[in-house]
Each structure stands twice: as C-alpha cells, then as structure tokens.
C-alpha cells in the first residue's frame, strides 16, 4: 500500500516536473512584463509562469498581486511592489531591491476574482514549506478549497517534511481532496481519501465528497454517500447548537439595546421614545473616538473601544440628564405627553446628527480582537459576537450590583417603590430622577458602542432598536431586570429557531403574534412585580 503510494507520488512528481520544467525556464522578467499589459488574460499567464518559477521572489510578487500591492509604471512598463499597504518603500519586482526614487504615477495591477483565486492557489503551493505554521495552515486550506491538481506534487513533498501533527492532518485532507479529483487514483487511494475526509466532517468535506465523478467505482460511491450522510447527520445536530448560539447572540444584542430602557421605562415608568437615539449617540461617540485614534494614534487603534465606552456612557448620560431636567420632569404622570415629547426629542437628535455628520453611514472599524471567527467543535463562532455576549453579561451584572450595593441604587429603589416616603426620609427625589434617567441613557450609550460593531452607524440607527427594546422590556415584565434578561434571550433563541424554517420575515411576524397573545394572557409580562409598587 505504502509502496504503491510512494510509487504513485514519484510518478506524479516526475509528471509535474516535466510539466513545470519548460515553464520554469520562462524568463522571470518577461513574465513580469505581462503585468504591464493590463489584460486579465496576460496577468493569468504571468501568475502561472511566476508560480512555476518558485522561490521567495515569486512568492513576494504573488502576495503583492493578491493584496493590491503590485504596481506597474505605465511609462517604463517596469513592475514594483510594496511590503505592506502602509509601508511606503517601493521595491523593484525584478530583484526585490528597494528603489530609492520610484517613478511617479504607479498603477496597481488589477485582478478579478478568478485571478485572485489563482494567485491564492499559487501562493498556497509556494508556502507549503514556510517556516511560519500559520502560513502552512493557510496554504493547506487554500489547496483544499481550490482542488488545484498541480499542487499535488509540492503537497506530497510537504507532507514528508511536516513535523506538526495538526498541520500534517490538514495536508492529508488537502491531498485527499486532490486524490478524489484526480482520474488516475486507484480505488484504494480513493477509499482512503474518503475516510480522511469523513474525519474532517465539515461542509468543505461534503462538497469534496459530492464532487466525486459519476463514473467512479460503485464501492467508492457508496462509501462517499455513506460519509456524506454521516457528516450531514452530525452537521444537523450542530445546526441546533448553532441556532442556540445565534439566538444567544441575537438575545445579547436585544438585551444590550433594552437594558437602558429597562431603567428609564421599566424602573421610572417614562415612555422614552428617545432611547434609540441614545444608542445612536453612543455609536457616534465611538466613531469620533476612532477618528481621533486614526488621526493621532493609529498604533493604539485596538484600544479605541475601551476609551469610547466610558466617554459614551458619560456623554449620553449627560444628554439624558439634560433631557430629564429640560423636558421630562414637567411631564411625570402624563404618559401620553411624555411619549410625544420624547419622540420629538428623538427627531431633534436624529436631525442634529444628520446635520453634523451627514446622512450617510460612518465607518466604525473593528479592533483586531473583534474581527474574524474561530472554530469551536465545528461551530463557527465570530469573535465580535462572542465579545458582545460577554460584554452584555458584564454590563448586566454590573448594573445589578450597582442597584443593590450603591447608595444611588438604594435611593433609586426607594424612590420607585414609594416616592413620598423616600422624600420624607430626606432623599432629593428630583435629583434621583435625573440620575436614574442619566444612568439609563448612559447604558444605552454603551450599548451604542457595542452595536456600532455590527450595525450601521447612521442617524437611523436608534429607530431600528426602539421597537425591539420596548418588546423585550414589556415581555420581561416592566420593572424587573431579570425579566429583561430572560425575555431578551428567549426572544433571540425563539427567533433563530423560527428563522431557518419560516424565513426572516415570517419569523419576525410570528414572534410579534406570539408576544401579543402572551401579553393578552399576562399583561404584566413574564415576571410581574407584585405588591404596592405595581399600583404606584
């Protein structure tokens, strides 16, 4: 068996060598000259030739091409590259030497998706032996996806060289895919490839197994079909886990958006239509902070959110206090007027932001620790969503502790439970009202910082959350923080289980209908407050 494989490998590498040999002789400089033509077909040829020539020089050129760092001087037709987009030093592509005075008017070599894919494959084949394990990993993945048969020979060589068992497994999977696509592979090799892919057990493996040609041996086809069913069964199980995870993630966003409202509406009873605009102001605070970071300290950009959080809390908190002092305090006990007044405030805030920042979206960047995804037992978890869940729970716990163990929290609870008694005890109730409203608004502000990571930062940001926020607070039971928590996660998970079945539009409608029915049955929500506080 091993001998057969070794023999095959030798034959294939010989074959590959024969194929590459003439191409490798093609002059590197004349290959580079093809880039200057600005024709996709010429660029495609250049990629093949340069990839075949191998070596670090080729790798540098191809990587530059893939990330738009390869330039052509239209006048002299010479090709240059930069080591990184931010790095201003220009290197001559022919020898890799830095150029002291690069010509003006350099133009980026344009590529399209097909060429981008070809470039990635070529880089994958070239970096199989790279010292950096992350690059070898990426190389294995890119070969696995591309199923580019020409990578088989370098892959065989790399497998022999590989010391890291995890990466060796990835290489073996990549080879299995190539083997399946290769017409010459024997039945035994195919069967082995299928069992390797079966171990991988993800959608990529299914894709490879499904692509087995119809002319393949019956045993092979049966085993492949069997493997696909096994993987699909596993994925189906995973999809429930995934739904729960997505639901928790959606729930955390809902909770974050609603938690401020749970204070202003839930605890104080103010129908605060400007709540969404507080979220928006928090998001714009993040934008401003990031702009400052971009201008003065780009290296510290990852810290921008940490700086934006307290600033957003303070800023929106102050705006909240101003709204309470300026408008709402005159309207206590008149819910309809409060509703209209706060709605007016929300329109004023929206238009103010539109006037200052313009109507279009503003770009809020994701710090490095919030972008990308990682794989957890076959479940793809995005970092941004995970941090938002962690952050939401942190905010929730802090709020609970603040209400329980600080003097402001004690005063707040006293005032909401019995305002006149609290006043008689010497608590300045108007001041407590202002602080409570400020706290609720500040919480909305920090929600805005987190939501700026996943949503538009535009003047309309708040509007899309206001309905959901009220829904969460009312469903959970007005005045009960734990109710808000349970209701947010329940709505999130229910929505995510309905969505794959009913589609996003119907899922939303179903949730609303269920909610209406539920409120008919229990008008005070999931966890209704009991006792005198209800009547107050």
């Amino acid at each position: 068996m091993i001998q057969v494989r070794a023999f095959c490998a030798a034959v294939i590498s010989l074959f590959a060598f024969l194929m590459f040999a003439p191409a490798a002789q093609a002059d590197f400089a004349s290959s580079l000259a093809r880039f200057a033509q600005d024709e996709f077909s010429e660029t495609a040829l250049a990629i093949d030739e340069i990839a075949a020539s191998g070596g670090s020089r080729a790798q540098q050129v191809l990587e530059a091409l893939g990330s738009a760092r390869l330039f052509v001087d239209p006048a002299s037709k010479k090709v240059y590259w930069r080591a990184a987009t931010s790095d201003r030093t220009i290197h001559d592509a022919a020898n890799g030497e830095p150029v002291a005075d690069p010509p003006a008017g350099l133009q980026v070599v344009r590529i399209n998706n097909r060429l981008r894919g070809a470039t990635l494959n070529a880089i994958g084949a070239l970096t199989l032996m790279a010292p950096d394990p992350a690059r070898r990993r990426a190389a294995a993945e890119s070969i696995f996806k591309s199923r580019d048969a020409s990578a088989l020979a370098p892959l065989e060589a790399a497998i022999k060289n590989e010391k890291d068992p995890a990466i060796a497994a990835l290489f073996a999977q990549a080879r299995a895919v190539l083997m399946l696509a290769e017409p010459q592979t024997t039945k035994d090799q195919q069967l082995e490839a299928i069992s390797i892919l079966r171990m991988r057990a993800d959608i990529g493996a299914i894709a490879a197994l499904r692509s087995i040609s119809a002319t393949a041996d019956a045993d092979v086809k049966a085993l492949a079909a069997d493997a696909v069913t096994a993987i699909e069964a596993r994925l189906k199980l995973m999809s429930h886990v995934q739904n729960v995870w997505y639901g928790l993630s959606l729930g955390s966003v809902l909770l974050l958006a609603a938690i401020g409202l749970a204070i202003t509406f839930g605890v104080m009873g103010v129908i605060n239509m400007a709540h969404g605009e507080m979220v928006m102001l928090g998001a714009y605070t993040t934008f401003v902070v990031q702009e400052v970071f971009r201008a003065y300290a780009p290296a510290w950009f990852d810290w921008s959110l940490a700086v934006a959080l307290p600033l957003a809390f303070l800023f929106t908190g102050l705006v909240g206090v101003a709204i309470e002092r300026g408008v709402i305090r005159f309207l206590y006990g008149r819910p309809l007027e409060t509703l209209l007044a706060t709605w007016g405030v929300s329109l004023i805030l929206q238009q103010a932001v539109r006037t200052i920042f313009g109507p279009s979206n503003r770009e809020v960047g994701a710090p490095s620790y919030m972008s990308g995804a990682f794989d957890l037992l076959g479940l793809s978890v995005t970092w941004g969503r995970m941090w938002i869940i962690v952050f939401t729970l942190f905010v929730f716990v802090s709020l609970l502790l603040a209400l329980k163990h600080t003097s402001l929290g004690l005063h707040m609870r006293a005032v909401t439970q019995n305002r006149r008694m609290a006043s008689a005890m010497g608590i300045r109730t108007p001041w407590v009202d202002a602080m409570t409203f400020g706290l609720g608004s500040g919480l909305a502000g920090i929600a805005g910082v987190a939501l700026s990571q996943i949503d538009n930062v535009s003047p309309n940001l708040g509007q899309s959350y206001i309905i959901d926020s009220f829904m969460v607070v009312v469903f959970g039971g007005v005045g009960n923080l734990w109710g808000t928590l349970v209701s947010a996660f329940a709505l999130g998970v229910a929505n995510k289980f309905l969505e794959p079945v009913a589609g996003a539009v119907l899922a939303k409608i179903f949730i609303l209908v269920l909610l209406i029915l539920f409120i008919q049955k229990r008008p005070r929500g999931l966890f209704a407050l009991k006792g005198r506080a209800v009547e107050a």
Partner: protein, 438 residues
C-alpha cells in the same frame, strides 16, 4: 450640509400668492425694465431629506442643486434662469404624492427630479398623470412599467441584473452554477428575483440550485442567513449570491460576511443596490472582490467623470465625497431635459414629453446615452469588484450601450408587451393581440 430649503421655499411661495401683485410692482420699480423680469423656470426636487431614505436621497438633492447652479452660470435655458424648489417627503410614501402635488400646483414646476424607492414612485404616478407633469426617476428599478409622464434614467433589469448574471456564468466570472437570490422584502427585489429566476431556469439551472431568501427592511442579524448561504455553497458547485438587499441592511450583511470569512473567491456576492455611498460605512478590506453591477462607477477613468467628481467635491466642500450611479442618472436626465426644452423651445409639458425621445446626452462613462421611445435610456453595463479603499474596479463591461427594456422578456404576461410613446403612444402595447393595454 445644506439647510432645509423646502421649508424656506414653502413659506416664500405661500406668501407669494398673497403678495404677488405687490412684489411684481416692486420689482418693476426697482429694475425699471419690465422685459428683464423674466420668470424663472422652476425645477422640483422630490427627495427625502429625513427618515430612512435620507441616507441615499440627500445626495441626489445636492447633485440637482449643483446641476441647476451650473446651468444658471451658463445662462440658464431659453434665456431664463432655473430655480430649484426643494421639498422633503421624509421617506413617507403618501407624503411623496402630497409633495408632488404641492410642487406642481403651488410652485408650478416645469419638471420634477425625484423618488428613490419603487413604492414612492408608484405613489406619485397618479399625481403626475392627473396634473400632467414630468418626473425623472434616477434609480435602477424592477421594470414592468412605462408611463407617459415618467422618464426612467436608472437601469431596467436588462441593464443591470441580467448582464450581471451573464458575467457570473462566464469563465471570468467564475462559471457559477448555483445561485442564492437574497433580497429585501418589497417590490423591487421580488420582481427582479422573479425575472432572474425565470432567466436562470431558461439557461438550464435546476430549481434546487436556486435559493431565494427575503429579509425585512433594516434586517440586522444575518448570522443564520450567512451560514445558510455557506451551507448552500458547499454542494460542490460554484455558488454566487445575487443581492437585492436594500438600504441599511447591507452594512450588517457585509460585516457578517466578512466575519464568517465568506471570501469573494469562494462565494462572490453581486449586489444591485450597493454603491460607493453605501460602502462608506464599511471597512472593505475583507470584502475585496465582491461585486456590484451598475451603469457607472466613480473609479471609471474618463475626463468627463474626473471633471464631474472635481466639481462635486468642490460643491460639497468635501474632498472625500463619493459619487454614485443614481447621481449620474440625474446628470444624464437633467442634460436630456435641458436639450429637450431647447428643442421644443418651451417648457410646456406635452411638447417636452414629445421632444425627449431621441435626445442624446453624454454620460460620465464616455458614451452618449439616448432617450428611447419607451422612456428608458441606453446605458453601458459594468461589473465592478470592491477594492480595499471602498471604490470599485471595473472588471467587465458591455461593448456598447444597452437599451433599457421596460417589459421583461423573461416573464409570462410581460414578454408580449412593448412600450412606445412615439409611434404607438402606448406604455403597454400587446404585440400578440395588437392592442394597447395588457
């Protein structure tokens, strides 16, 4: 930001009714020569300056103000100056009809440039018919309409959706065999996807290779849908997403795509409603290679385009301000309108409507667009790939200009219809029974 002109103008013109006599008397006194007191030609601008659509429409208002200012510098038209009348329909569809009526009856505008969403256009149609005025509609739309009073300067489906799908099916586009049609749940995506589905099936794509998905306006949680797309794309056939997702929902959609690592080399997304303006709020470094189909891109290298961009950035006093496709449609539409007035020698609605078909105006991509008898125009179709700087690289474009087709050739009931306002004087002439009206 410009101040809200709508309010100022309304006040001015309400008063004008009362003070009309006095004002003209005063004018005569001051100017001393009655002949010079030529009335201006009023141009209505009907774009939302507040509410959800303000994000896209405010820019179109600004570009119209710039065009009018420029035309006035050249001496106006027919020796008369142009005057912009801006109203704010506030992203509120019934209000569009009210504001259109206000523009035509109170302000007596010669033509209106406006609307973005199809539902706003449908809401103003009866007003334009009843009061016989002209609307220039600058946005790509679902087709299946041709009205005497409306001139469609945006793309019809055959000028955007169909060529985009053709490109993806080609070798350069990735030889796509499996399709996700994802859209926002309203008339434009629904009709476009109906046309595309019929077209794909006509091209031999099996029903199980087409997945259609609709989401509500402003949808922000894309986790499930993106992971479903990934799953759908794993069937061993090259898969692409055709996105008619509109407005605010795009940013979270693209952010989720980037986070879940859907690369353009694996599953490309081609969008019909995402332009330079929409990408302004997104970090595009992870979206490089995803596509958009339009009739204009800011990155098109062309002297006319360079001049327009320079003027626009100077007008808005923002050197980073981007341009986009509907803006170009307004530029072309406005120039056609000016030429038609010059040809007709009057601003009379009927004469201008008759003069418009056949009028040619330069577009910003180097061609001459022509107004057709079906009130649509000829346009080049371009496919652009998103670059890391938020601009597009044109990777493919049609050889010549494509004539806009009001009635899709791929839908039952619509393929026999033809719009011709010159010869047949009919917007939906049925060629099968040789009669106007479907």
């Amino acid at each position: 930001m410009m101040p809200n002109w709508g309010v100022c103008m309304s006040i001015k013109f309400v008063r004008r009714g009362v003070l009309a006599g006095m004002a003209s008397a005063a004018m005569m006194l001051i100017v001393g020569a009655p002949a010079i007191a030529q009335e201006t030609i009023k141009v209505g601008i009907l774009h939302s300056l507040s509410g959800t659509m303000a994000i896209s429409e405010t820019t179109l208002k600004d570009v119209m103000l710039m065009l009018i200012e420029e035309q006035n510098k050249k001496g106006g038209v027919l020796g008369r100056k142009l005057e912009a009348v801006v109203v704010d329909p506030a992203s509120n569809w019934p209000l569009f009809a009210e504001k259109a009526r206000e523009l035509i009856t109170q302000h007596k505008v010669a033509a209106v440039f406006g609307c973005w969403t199809s539902v706003s256009r449908k809401s103003v149609l009866p007003v334009f018919k009843e009061l016989n005025n002209i609307l220039f509609y600058p946005v790509q739309y679902e087709g299946e309409e041709s009205e005497r009073n409306v001139f469609y300067t945006g793309a019809a489906p055959n000028q955007q959706a169909i060529p985009a799908v053709d490109y993806l099916m080609s070798k350069d586009g990735g030889d796509v065999k499996r399709w996700v049609l994802a859209g926002t749940d309203y008339v434009y995506p629904r009709t476009t996807n109906r046309i595309l589905e019929a077209y794909l099936k006509a091209k031999g794509v099996a029903a199980e290779d087409i997945m259609i998905n609709y989401t509500p306006f402003g949808h922000s949680d894309w986790q499930t849908i993106v992971s479903n797309v990934k799953k759908f794309g794993s069937a061993g056939k090259k898969t692409a997403v055709v996105s008619t997702i509109n407005g605010d929902a795009n940013v979270p959609f693209y952010k989720e795509l980037a986070n879940q690592g859907v690369k353009a080399t694996d599953i490309p997304v081609v969008a019909f409603s995402v332009g330079e303006e929409e990408l302004a709020g997104v970090d595009t470094s992870n979206l490089v290679g995803h596509l958009a189909a339009w009739n204009y891109f800011q990155s098109v290298k062309n002297p006319a385009n360079a001049e327009f961009i320079a003027k626009w950035q100077a007008f808005t006093k923002n050197p980073k301000r981007v341009t986009n496709d509907p803006m170009e449609a307004h530029v072309v539409g406005f120039n056609m309108w000016i030429k038609a007035i010059e040809k007709a020698g009057t601003t009379d609605t009927d004469k201008v409507i008759d003069a418009l078909p056949g009028i040619e105006a330069a577009n910003l991509t180097g061609g001459m667009s022509k107004m057709l008898p079906n009130h649509h125009i000829t346009k080049p179709v371009m496919i652009g790939e998103i670059r890391a700087d938020g601009q597009f690289d044109v990777v493919w474009q049609t050889k010549g200009l494509v004539a806009g087709d009001a009635w899709s050739d791929f839908l039952e009931g619509s393929k026999d219809l033809e719009a011709d306002w010159v010869g047949k004087k009919c917007g939906n002439f049925n060629t099968k029974i040789n009669k106007c009206g479907s």
